[in-house]
Assembly symmetry: C2
Homo-oligomer: 151 residues x 2
């Protein structure tokens, strides 16, 4: 039996999902739950999801620029979904918010980079393992759309 004593100092310091992604997902889910395409104010989303309004602004802006959301200014304005929730795969959302899905650059589909310390990917044990992780994670994201996240 193996002890984890040496790692008792891991009180979840290294969180792999950024707050940006987390808040973005929550906001998208909230919008999806509204069903209609009528704009929802930032302040309403922020309040309902316990998110810093200013921080949320920047996140929604990103989502709008990448074509996931539309916005309307002025009185009665806000953000709204452009597509149907069922047509928004999680792969898209995650890549927009979080960036690479892979745990190491050398197994990333959209953000590939060679490891500078690794002479040969084919014989790299880390590469081999992380390739499997990427594939399984990718499958989860491919099998889920925004519609699946709405309670």
């Amino acid at each position: 039996m193996l002890s984890l004593i040496a790692n008792v100092n891991f009180p979840y310091l290294r969180c792999m999902l950024s707050k940006k992604t987390k808040y973005g997902l929550k906001a998208l889910t909230f919008l999806a739950a509204q069903k209609g395409r009528s704009p929802v104010q930032i302040s309403e989303i922020a309040k309902h999801e316990n998110i810093s309004q200013k921080f949320l602004e920047s996140i929604l802006l990103t989502l709008r620029k990448t074509g996931l959301l539309g916005s309307k200014k002025g009185k009665g304005g806000g953000y709204y979904l452009i597509k149907e929730p069922k047509d928004i795969p999680m792969t898209t959302v995650m890549r927009v918010l979080e960036g690479p899905i892979a745990m190491v650059p050398c197994v990333s589909l959209n953000f590939y980079e060679k490891c500078d310390d690794c002479p040969d990917e084919a014989s790299c044990s880390v590469h081999k393992l992380m390739l499997q992780v990427r594939d399984s994670t990718l499958e989860v994201f491919r099998n889920n759309t925004l519609a699946d996240l709405v309670p």
Copy 2:
């Protein structure tokens, strides 16, 4: 079709696998490939895997403290595997080196923490999604032992 233009500034900044884990995995694989239980010097591992020797020292120390490695001092000393590679599951290695496997604390088996912004996990869309990711990742790590990583 969705553009990733807004994220062109993602040159893999947020690497999810730390160098510590990466180097640790490489070192373990190297030791496993040596087959025999004879000690291997830190300097030899560091040179072969292109790792900073001092950094590697601290990593191997962690692995020894958690019972994965043994060490021998003095001339002819070094590090060696205590168990057979096939008896070392990746779940163990990853938890020792990287810590939590889950992407958010609220779905972690060994490092659970409640989200302070989330009133109800059962209805949280992020929770629901990340639970699936954790399970699929965990399955990969459970299906791989150190022996599977050796080329």
